[in-house]
């Protein structure tokens, strides 16, 4: 406590001495004050040393100092007083030194804001939430697998309730998922689970139909039969709902347990009941592993009790003597949950081994488990009970005690039989010392005293003798037994009861005194207590409901599976509720992406045609989409079967994200990207002299780097390299003159490239200029109010970045050609091409 009050005080002084000392003392586990004091004096000197080292000119000394400072930080010691000395090195050229300075800055920048040269967190704070959401919305549209994970993390942190931002990105996220990095997958899956629960209707319906064919049937509205079905309002799963389930399933094979759990919870919360079992094998994998069972178990609990799912894996959960107690108990819990009529005899045989375990806590847990099996499966109740009775003669006291407690509970469920067991327990009573067990036997005697009329009073007699030395719970039960016997057999027990009540009256424990007073008023007739007295028998000997033997892991249904909240069974901060299924699904069309897919495909990538023809000398040619700008590559080729495969490195140029969702052609491209070789659609057989044309799209990612392929035949292979002209990486964009100028102003400085060119006067007509520019670049003509100004606008096909071309005609046939775009490399290449075209013409 002293150190706590000292800490801020010393810190204010800011002296080296105090800082180090404070760092020392806030360590609750620092070993002894003597050692701390010793360290303190050396550290004090060291810090002065460190300052000197940091101020020296030698890089190696600085580095050494920073290494030691990182060491101090890692030990939780305060090194803040070195801040000014460290910050000076922020501009160092040595990358290792720089990194260490960064480590230091991150640690102290917040505390030392006035000194911090660059405090990143202040920048962050300056961004308003609305602005943040805007950024997130923009980033959600990104099609890169690298961005998807991070942006969903940000979404969950900043605006998890803005479900509307997800609509348009839902299908894309589903399709990207398998290629996102593992940690991002977890966050995306969890978020999509929440999303799905707000957008789709419940598949947990009796009349639900899940045959995939029915999805087709849904669209196939012409058929009369189907119409009939629709009248009954059969549940039909939303195709997007199915998409989510289908695309998450492969991730059950992930090595990352968090991913596996995320998919499992998605299936639990979203899949039709009969499909949930798909996740079983993967969950068993988690439960088999000693690393994960403890955490995974709680999340699997709900699924364990589902009939049939885990039973085939029962033996995987058999206990080994070397397992830790924690794991043993969990495995026991699993086995108990899996027990049913069919396997109970196997399980009980296994339990017999556990009861003998040297780990007594585990043996006791096994006895409880046997009790639970006995109540859950009525066929084995008697067998279990007999087994437990045998355990009563066990040498270990804790085993006996636990058995007594469990037998007591079991007998309550079947009160009509088993007076033999009760009398057997009475015989053992003298040898049992564990208070809980003694109390349990006493309770049994009292409750069923009429079935053991001779033994019960005798037990009470013994208790009267030992009453004063018993534990409190035993005393309470003795009073209880006395009261019950007094009511049923007062002839024999009246005196004993009075004696015990008298002992209780003067007991040290006030609970016992209190209970004794209450019992006395209740059972002994007197003037005051007449009303209550009449009901004494009905109160004390009422038939009691049997206790329910159940697991401590039950009742976690209110939280999303796999969450921290679910694990702790409390609502943690930042927990997002999973909503109930809506009764009526919200409009599914919100997930439709505006542009119809094939069109978008045309727009988003440079389309070219690959023509394979068979003449004397078979050849292929390829051309870009626009007839005016045809690039041709011709090569000799003999074809029988055509295979197209990428040459290394597989071009990331063919971007999977938007090819994935398209029919035939795109699917083909997708597999083309990720698995090779890819057999082209026209591959069956080509007759000599036949020719085939195939359109394919390549996303060049706004770069003129060539896409490389091999065209393969059975005998031979040919390399194909397709390099687009820079102008082909654009698509026209229409804009007004005002917009053009506005956008142009935003793209100045680094984003502007220009050149002065000389043109012949004949070429300065607007018609010629337009023709020349359009032959080079796929841009659109933007209106211009001035005659000497020509404007063209386009966007890059891949990222959609604006490219603005303007040509200002000056005197004496010179002209200023300007290109404004963020893509500076493209700009310079385009400038070259345009320059050539305009001057030559």
């Amino acid at each position: 406590d002293l150190s706590n009050s000292h800490f801020p005080l010393y810190n204010d002084q800011g002296s080296a001495e105090a800082a180090v000392e404070a760092g020392q003392e806030t360590t609750p586990t620092s070993s002894g004050s003597g050692a701390a004091f010793g360290l303190f004096s050396t550290d004090f000197k060291k810090n002065e040393d460190l300052k000197e080292m940091l101020e020296s000119n030698k890089e190696s000394l600085k580095l050494e100092a920073m290494k030691r400072i990182v060491g101090l930080i890692s030990k939780g010691k305060n090194a803040s007083e070195l801040f000014p000395a460290v910050v000076k090195n922020v501009a160092s050229k040595n990358i290792e030194l720089k990194k260490l300075v960064y480590v230091y800055l991150v640690r102290y920048a917040e505390e030392q804001q006035d000194l911090a040269l660059l405090s990143i967190s202040t920048f962050q704070r300056a961004l308003k939430k609305e602005q943040l959401i805007e950024v997130i919305e923009k980033l959600l549209k990104d099609k890169s697998t690298l961005v998807a994970g991070s942006v969903v993390v940000a979404f969950e942190e900043v605006c998890p309730d803005r479900i509307d931002l997800i609509h348009k990105n839902f299908r894309k996220l589903c399709n990207l998922l398998v290629d996102v990095e593992e940690w991002g997958q977890v966050v995306i899956i969890n978020m999509l689970t929440r999303y799905a629960r707000t957008q789709f209707t419940s598949p947990w319906r009796e009349d639900a139909m899940f045959d995939e064919n029915n999805e087709k049937a849904f669209y196939d509205s012409d058929s009369e039969e189907k119409k009939g079905q629709a009248d009954v309002k059969t549940y039909i799963m939303d195709p997007d709902h199915r998409l989510l389930l289908r695309n998450t399933k492969p991730l059950l094979q992930s090595r990352n347990t968090a991913v596996v759990m995320a998919v499992a919870q998605l299936y639990w919360h979203l899949a039709p009941k009969h499909e949930v079992s798909i996740v079983t094998k993967s969950l068993v994998r988690l439960l088999r592993s000693h690393r994960y069972i403890v955490v995974a178990f709680k999340h699997c609990y709900n699924l364990l009790s589902k009939q049939g799912m885990f039973e085939p894996y029962m033996k995987s959960f058999y206990v080994r003597s070397t397992d830790s107690t924690h794991i043993k108990t969990l495995k026991l819990e699993i086995l108990t949950n899996l027990a049913n009529e069919a396997n109970i005899s196997t399980i009980l045989r296994e339990f017999q081994t556990y009861v003998k375990s040297q780990d007594k806590a585990f043996a006791a847990a096994t006895i409880q488990a046997i009790g639970r099996c006995a109540t859950n499966i009525s066929e084995v109740t008697d067998t279990c009970l007999n087994g437990l009775v045998l355990l009563l003669s066990n040498r270990d006291e804790s085993v006996v005690a636990e058995s007594v407690v469990v037998i007591k509970k079991l007998l309550q469920t079947q009160p009509n039989q088993h007076s033999d067991i009760i009398s057997h327990m009475a015989k053992l009573f003298d040898n049992i010392t564990v208070p809980m067990a003694r109390a349990s036997i006493l309770w049994l005697m009292g409750e069923y005293c009429e079935r053991v009329p001779k033994i019960a009073p005798d037990v009470l007699r013994k208790m009267a003798k030992t009453f004063t030395v018993e534990e409190d719970i035993v005393k309470l039960q003795t009073v209880n037994l006395a009261a019950k016997l007094f009511l049923t057999n007062s002839k024999q027990t009246k005196l004993l009861t009075q004696y015990i009540l008298n002992l209780g009256k003067y007991d040290q424990n006030y609970d016992i005194r209190d209970r004794t007073r209450f019992i006395r008023q209740l059972i002994v007739p007197s003037e005051k207590s007449s009303t209550l007295n009449k009901y004494a028998r009905r109160i004390l000997l009422a038939s009691k409901p049997a206790p329910v033997l159940e697991s401590a892991f039950k009742d976690r249904d209110r939280f999303q599976l796999g969450t921290l909240s679910h694990s702790l069974n409390i609502k943690t901060s930042g927990y997002q509720e999973l909503s109930e299924w809506p009764a009526v699904a919200p409009d599914p069309s919100v997930r439709n992406v505006e542009v119809i897919e094939p069109v978008k495909f045309l727009l988003k990538s440079a389309l070219f045609q690959l023509q394979v023809s068979f003449t004397e000398k078979p050849s292929y040619s390829c051309s870009f989409g626009n007839a005016t700008r045809k690039t041709q590559v011709v090569k000799m080729l003999v074809c029988s079967t055509l295979l197209l495969r990428p040459t290394p490195p597989p071009p990331p140029l063919i971007c999977s994200p938007f090819t994935a969702s398209f029919p035939t052609l795109h699917t083909a491209l997708l597999s083309f990207t990720f698995s090779s070789p890819f057999i082209f659609p026209f591959s069956e057989r080509l007759e000599p002299r036949a020719s085939v044309t195939v359109s394919m799209g390549i996303d060049f990612s706004d770069s003129t780097q060539a896409a490389n392929f091999q065209l393969c035949t059975k005998e031979d292979q040919f390399s194909v390299s397709i390099q687009p002209a820079v102008g082909e990486l654009l698509m026209p964009s229409t804009m007004t003159e005002a917009d053009f100028c506005k956008e142009q102003k935003k793209l100045l400085g680094m984003n502007e490239t220009s050149a002065t060119i000389t043109m012949t006067t004949a070429n300065t007509s607007s018609q010629t200029i337009n023709k020349q520019v359009l032959s080079v670049a796929n841009v659109g003509v933007a209106p211009s109010s001035q005659n000497n100004f020509h404007r063209f606008a386009g966007r890059t096909v891949s990222s959609g970045a604006l490219v603005l071309v303007s040509l200002e005609l000056k005197e004496s046939s010179s002209a200023l050609l300007t290109i404004n775009t963020e893509k500076s490399i493209m700009a310079s290449m385009l400038l070259q091409d345009l320059k050539q075209a305009l001057t030559e013409a």
Binding site: G71, S150, R285, N394, S573, P649
Partner: protein
């Protein structure tokens, strides 16, 4: 997500702390120490705890606790998995994951932690990517560094991290191109007193060591993939190819990695390579017990069983042992009460035997149950499940790589009840 990390040794000293957001006082660990005290055995400490303002998620690896502090909702398995990755990376970098080694390399450890989490969210967790930024220490390099003032910090950003295949670094070049695959299987089994198998299953992994130039695209196929009951993959493996064709198609990381883990269930009749004939008895009266263990070959598929080792956790009352072994050496740890018999190779002609007497604490009751026998063993050049790699093909590169597959069977959690 993950706010802070504390590394704590088994005696309860916090020897390293790292914060990714604001600093959290290490007094938060007191809640953990309380739970640790209660659990007695470190293995029994609950991995997820809550305190008034924070949540604590921890793992226990190599006698160290990795304790992370969480402030808002996150999947506990997410944190646990990440902490294990951190421990794996330490293991990978320093050869072991111990307090001494972490303290010796604190600067590298800090640099690693800085890269592995960004603002509390996992960033670079691939050993391949990390090694490009932060080179692991070697004796040679540390000598060179002290002489030249060089550093362990790479001066380029890893190109792989920003590509579609983040697990592989770009521009890999080797003069000798080679790809090795080790199929390693562990038999988990419980055998009862009479020698019947109560339960047995096989946990297998394929560890790969791939040093190939460029961007090789590999396809590994099996003779009998249907044997595999459950599989999990490194992210490089294409799920779809596995689903449709049962082949492993992947662009491998560079260097060592675990390609796949699999499970063969007991339904496929797991072969048990050895049998144990044992007789352990404690006399009702007198402070004495007897032990007699013989090990013999059962289903070894004609291969040599090596590295045979027997471990028995004796009941507390066994004070000392007086045993003779026909082969190998045996030791008895008096404090931990563990008997270890290092047998070595199993010679089918002359079966190894260990016998003798156990002396017990006088007056102590006879133990309820006999201790079980834990077995260790190794069989080279055999995958006990019968799994066989049929071929490895490479696309995308022109050279011919050197390929190799090795098989090894080990005992996993192999226990004989007595």
């Amino acid at each position: 997500m993950i706010h802070s990390l504390f590394l704590i040794n088994h005696t309860g000293d916090i020897f390293l702390e790292k914060h990714w957001k604001s600093v959290i006082s290490r007094s938060v660990c007191d809640y953990f120490f309380e739970a640790k005290e209660k659990a007695e055995d470190p293995e029994n400490v609950p991995p997820v705890l809550y305190t008034p303002h924070h949540y604590l998620v921890s793992i226990y690896r190599g006698k160290l606790f990795f304790l992370s502090v969480i402030q808002t909702e996150v999947s506990p398995l997410f944190v646990i998995e990440f902490l294990h990755r951190v421990a794996d990376i330490f293991q990978d970098y320093f050869g072991e994951c111990s307090e001494a080694v972490i303290k010796d390399n604190v600067v590298i450890v800090y640099a690693l932690l800085e890269e592995m989490l960004d603002n509390g969210f996992p960033l670079a967790t691939e050993s391949n990517v990390l090694k490009e930024m932060i080179r692991p220490p070697t004796i040679l390099r540390s000598v060179v560094n002290t002489l030249t003032g060089g550093s362990n910090v790479g001066d380029t950003l890893p190109a792989g991290q920003l590509s579609n295949i983040p697990w592989r670094r770009a521009g890999v070049k080797y003069t000798n191109n080679e790809a090795y695959f080790d199929v390693i299987e562990e038999i988990d089994a419980i055998v009862d007193k009479s020698g019947t198998t109560v339960f047995a299953e096989i946990q297998g992994v394929i560890e790969a060591c791939v040093r190939l130039t460029g961007m090789p695209d590999l396809t590994l196929s099996f003779m009998n993939p249907r044997l595999l009951d459950d599989v999990s993959f490194h992210p490089c493996v294409r799920f779809k190819r596995w689903e449709s064709e049962r082949v492993l198609s992947f662009i491998p990381p560079d260097g060592n990695f675990r390609l796949m883990s699999y499970h063969v269930s007991s339904q496929n009749l797991v072969a048990i390579p050895v049998y144990v004939k044992q007789n352990i008895s404690f006399l009702e009266t007198g402070a004495c017990g007897r032990l007699d263990i013989t090990i013999g070959p059962k289903q070894t598929m004609g291969k040599m069983v090596e590295g045979l080792k027997v471990t028995i956790h004796m009941p507390k009352m066994v004070l000392s042992v007086n045993l003779t072994a026909t082969q190998g050496t045996h030791t008895y740890d008096l404090t931990a009460k563990v008997l270890v018999w290092d047998v070595g190779k199993l010679n089918p002609q002359k079966l190894p035997n260990l016998r003798g007497s156990l002396s017990m604490q006088s007056g102590a009751p006879k133990p309820e149950d006999n201790p079980s026998i834990n077995m260790d063993l190794k069989i080279q050049q055999l995958a006990i499940s019968g799994l066989k790699v049929s071929r490895l093909d490479m696309h995308g590169e022109k050279y011919k790589p050197f390929k190799g597959v090795k098989y090894l069977t080990k005992a996993g959690k192999f226990q004989v009840r007595t």
